[in-house]
Every structure is written in C-alpha cells, then in structure tokens.
C-alpha cells in the first residue's frame, strides 16, 4: 500500500452538517471549528478517535474505509480477524465458526489478530524481566492513543513499547504463511484487516505499521458484518482451528491486554480517561506502574465506531467465548523461538501541531496577545464563536482565522478591547 501521511479516515458531509457545536466540544485535540455554519476538521490534529462521529446526531460525520473490491486485485486473500469481531454476533458462540466464515464471503483464508496479541504478551513478559527497562511501558495497540502521545504528550513517546502491535505481527505471519501455502509472490497476496475503527484505517494508510508490505487494505467491520448476515452457521466449514488463547481474545475489551501480564498494570479506556492517565504520566507520577494499556474507545475495541453490536453486549459475548470455547486454551507462544523478529525500533516522529507560529518571535507575540485577550473573554467556553473554548478562540483570533466580533460578549455593552490585537498586527 502507498503511504499517505495526510490520510484521514474521518470526514464531514457538509450537506448534513447543521453547524451545531457538539462534535467540536467533544474533540480531544481541538481539531474542529465551526465556520460559516459548518464544521471543519484540522487534519493535522485529528487522531481519528471517532468521538465526533459518536456525538453527531445529524449523521454528518462519517468514517471512510477501503472498498471490498480491493480484494479483486489479488490472487489470494487473507482476512485478519480481530477479537472484537467475535463479539458482534450474539447467537454465535463458537469463535472458529466466525473466523472460518471469512471463506464464505470471499477470502481464501483468515488469521487471528488475537494470536498476534498473544505474541505481544509473550514479548512483554520477557521485557518485564529486563531490569533497566523504562517504566512504565505504554501499549501501542490503539493507534489513537499513540497519535495522541505523538502530538500532545510527546515527552512520553520514549515509553511506547518497542514491540510491533498485534495487527502488524498478525499481518506479517499471515503473509508468510500464505506465501508458503500457495507458492505465490508477496504482491499476489492481499492481507486485509477487518477494523473496528477508522483509526486503524488511517494508521495503516499513513504508514504507522513499519513492516512492509504489511496490510494491503482495511475494511470496516460493519461492511463485513453486513456480508456475514447472509451466511448461516451451517454453511461454514471449519477447516482451520482457532489458535489464539483465551488471553489474546481478551484484547477486544478494556483490561484484557493487561490480564495477560503480571506486575503493576493499569488500563484506561475512553479518550477522556486516556488523557487523564497521560497527564498523570506526563507529570512524572505513576513511576511504579509497569505497563499501561490504553484504549481510546469506551470499553475497548468493542466500542469502536465500525462495530455494530452494543459494546456491553459484545463484551458479555466475548466473556462467554473466553469462558467456554477457549477456556482451556493456554497461551503457548512463550515456547516460540525467533520472537525477537517482532520487536521494532522506536522511531516515532512527533509533530508539534499546537505551535502558534513556526517563527519563535512571531509565536512569542501571538502567545502574548492570547494571554492578554483571554481575560477579556467571558470564560464561558460556550462554543458559539465556533471555537471549542475561549482560549482556542483567542488563539484563532490571534492567528487571523476568526474576527473578535464572533464572541457573544461583543453583543453586550462592555465589548472587548480589540485594539491590542490591531496594534500588534499593524
């Protein structure tokens, strides 16, 4: 897949957008503004969490994913099945039925991302034995949380664990296995991920996964579920058994990832909770925690915006699967050699998207103006101006993106003294 650094999976349908400010208020990176009655996204700041999609009551926000037609470009295709998919069908308890049903909807084979998760857990347990390691280690499984760290908490980037995330490992193994089974060249094999979230679509297109070729396309879980609706359980041939463990499947829900680890672990889910934990970490607290699991979606990946089942119902379903079908399955990967090929060096690029100006002198003047303007604003953070907070509005005014008369305060008697802005810009 060609990488495109600016790829963004969250889009706005301008015709449906009513210009309400609900999405803007929810955005954790203040990437949204409402201008001329329509929401706009600053893609440099978008981490793809999907909060705006969840809040929009007008269906004006949507997420893109790859077209299923992409499968036709390859001679042989493999579906990477995430554990969250197992929670989407309340009446199907057997995970091998769900995974093997991929062959009924056009894939030649499947591979479990939960198995990749098992490998990550095994590698993480090995890391815990190293005495001079960073503390805590932060999971890289949720791309939203990684992006959030890279743009907003960039001091924490060195804590990101240097192990490939489950998806990347699964893609690597699936491709190798398909090449061996078919004798085909790598480029003839299409490896596709069935994603619970737009974030994994975006991260794949942006080249977040370093293994190349890794994933050839990312399909929305909802698109796949729609196709599976027409397949009955009886039609599914169980040709390949499930290899992932009980613990690997647990990664679909918050707290699942850490359940495979000893030591002091912490799991946070939901973007606001993730941010609160990152703030604690940033200020140097939580030094005695060994491992931090972060999921941007409430409840974990079962809460992703491409899922079709209620996250709590999906969670209950996964719990049942883990207790029944997979109950005796132990994680056997500790015995696997060559695990080291799934380590990866840390070369995360941080991006300062909050800088007021690339030129220090200009940024300096702008910050001063912001600090002077801010106390004059009503501190309502009402969003009527089209900026998510009074502070963001002040920044937008100083950056010349919006004029000061957009603030509600201007309609009252004691308006804002905008001379200071005029003076400085002249």
């Amino acid at each position: 897949m060609e990488t495109d650094k600016s790829y963004c999976a969250v889009k706005i349908d301008k015709d449906k957008c009513k210009g309400c400010i609900n999405c803007m208020k929810k955005c954790p990176t203040e990437a949204i503004r409402v201008r001329n009655g329509k929401a706009t996204i600053n893609y440099d700041r978008c981490v793809g969490c999907g909060e705006c999609i969840r809040t929009c009551t007008h269906n004006a926000k949507y997420a893109t994913s790859d077209s299923l037609d992409l499968m036709n470009d390859f001679k042989y295709t493999v579906a990477l099945v995430p554990p969250s998919l197992l929670g989407q069908f309340p009446n199907v308890i057997d995970p091998s039925v769900i995974s093997n049903s991929m062959k009924n909807i056009g894939f030649d084979d499947f591979y479990e991302v939960a198995r990749g998760a098992d490998l990550v857990s095994a590698l993480t347990r090995k890391k815990f034995e190293e005495c001079d390691r960073q503390k805590p280690l932060i999971s890289t499984a949720c791309p939203v949380c990684v992006e959030l760290i890279l743009i907003r908490f960039n001091d924490l980037k060195d804590y990101l664990i240097d192990i490939m995330p489950p998806l990347e490992i699964a893609a690597k193994i699936a491709r190798k296995r398909a090449m061996k089974a078919t004798g085909l060249a790598s480029e003839d094999i299409g490896v596709f991920f069935i994603s619970p979230c737009p974030a994994k679509v975006a991260s794949t297109h942006r080249g977040f996964y370093t293994e190349n070729p890794g994933v050839d396309g990312v399909f929305a879980m909802s698109d796949i579920c729609l196709k599976l609706m027409h397949i009955s359980q009886a039609e599914v041939d169980i040709t390949r058994p499930i290899v992932a463990s009980n613990l690997g499947v647990a990664w679909a829900t918050s707290g699942g990832e850490v359940s495979a680890l000893d030591g002091r672990v912490l799991a946070a889910d939901g973007i606001e909770n993730v941010i609160s934990v990152l703030k604690e970490l940033e200020s140097g607290k939580l030094k005695d925690i060994d491992y931090v699991e972060l999921n941007a979606c409430p409840g974990g990946c079962v809460g992703g915006v491409f899922t079709i089942e209620n996250p709590f119902v999906a969670k209950s379903k996964i719990h049942t699967i883990r207790r029944t079908s997979l109950y005796n399955k132990k994680n056997t990967v500790d015995k696997i050699e060559h695990l080291d090929e799934y380590l990866r060096s840390l070369d995360w690029e941080t991006d300062d998207v909050f800088v007021l100006d690339k030129d220090f002198k200009k940024a300096f003047v702008k910050l001063r103006q912001v600090e002077q303007l801010l106390p004059q604003l009503p501190q309502l953070d009402c969003g009527v101006c089209g900026s998510p907070s009074c502070r963001a509005f002040a920044e937008d005014v100083v950056n010349g993106i919006v004029t000061i008369d957009k603030c509600v305060r201007q309609t009252e008697e004691n308006g804002i003294d905008d001379d200071l802005i005029k003076k400085e810009t002249e």
């Binding site: 001091d155 703030k279 001063r368």
Partner: protein, 142 residues
C-alpha cells in the same frame, strides 16, 4: 526588552487539593510548547515548576505561581504565606526533608525537590522567613 513586552500568566495553587497539584506546571508546559521552544528547556521548566508547586501544596498550604516569559528567559516565581524555611542551606541538601509520615506515604518527602529545582534551572533564588512565607524564583535562559 522591557517589562511590558513579556508574556505573563499565573495560577492559584490550591493547598488542599493533591489531585490538582501539577496543573500549573502542566499548563505552563503546554504554553511553552505553543511557543515552539525546544523540548529540553520545556522539560526542565516543567520538572522544576512541578517540584515547586508540590512544595507549596505539602509544606505551605498552597500559594501563587507566576510565569513571566520574555524573548531570552523564563522566570517562575512561587510565592506562599506558609511556615517558611528556617535553614535554606539545609533544605537544599539532597535527602533533607521535614515531610511527615503521611506525606511520605503519598510518595513525597525524599528531599529531592529543591535539589532538582536547582539542577534544572539556570538560577534559583529562595527568599524565606519563618512564619511568614517563602518566595522561590527560578530563571531559565532561552
């Protein structure tokens, strides 16, 4: 550069609220990032300011944190009206702490705050009077 050209902001540091301790240094850190300053100075300011902020919370029942930025330096002033420091030289020593058992249980009281503030700032000035309060000034060259 004249006084009026600097950027100023300040915070009330609540002495009763351990949860919010760190807010002033965190906000300051973010604003310094908006200036596009390099990561090293931001880190040093954040660490030193956090230690000073915590000291006001655990040893002085809170106070005020003032930040002044001009084009070549950052000045952080932490002012409280707490119990004051009797022997500043002693307080500056690594490992010296008057923190109670309860405070130590919360993870503070290693006696490393002031030494850390000294290490991370370019200049540290402590002005304190027992029973009156303490004023800590830290200067960082940009």
């Amino acid at each position: 550069m004249s006084q009026s050209n600097s950027i100023l902001w300040s915070f009330d540091v609540d002495g009763k609220n351990f949860d919010s301790a760190g807010f002033a240094s965190q906000s300051t850190k973010f604003k310094l990032r908006q200036l596009g300053l390099n990561g090293d100075i931001i880190k040093r300011v954040a660490i030193a300011m956090y230690e000073g902020e915590i000291n006001m919370v655990i040893h002085a029942e809170g106070g005020v944190a003032n930040v002044e930025v001009d084009e070549d330096k950052i000045i952080i002033t932490l002012t409280d009206t707490g119990k004051g420091i009797a022997d500043i030289e002693q307080a500056m020593r690594e490992g010296f702490s008057t923190a109670t058992e309860e405070i130590r249980d919360l993870g503070f009281g290693a006696g490393m705050g002031l030494p850390n503030m000294k290490k991370n700032s370019d200049e540290l000035i402590i002005d304190s009077a027992v029973g009156k309060g303490t004023k800590v000034t830290m200067i960082f060259a940009i």
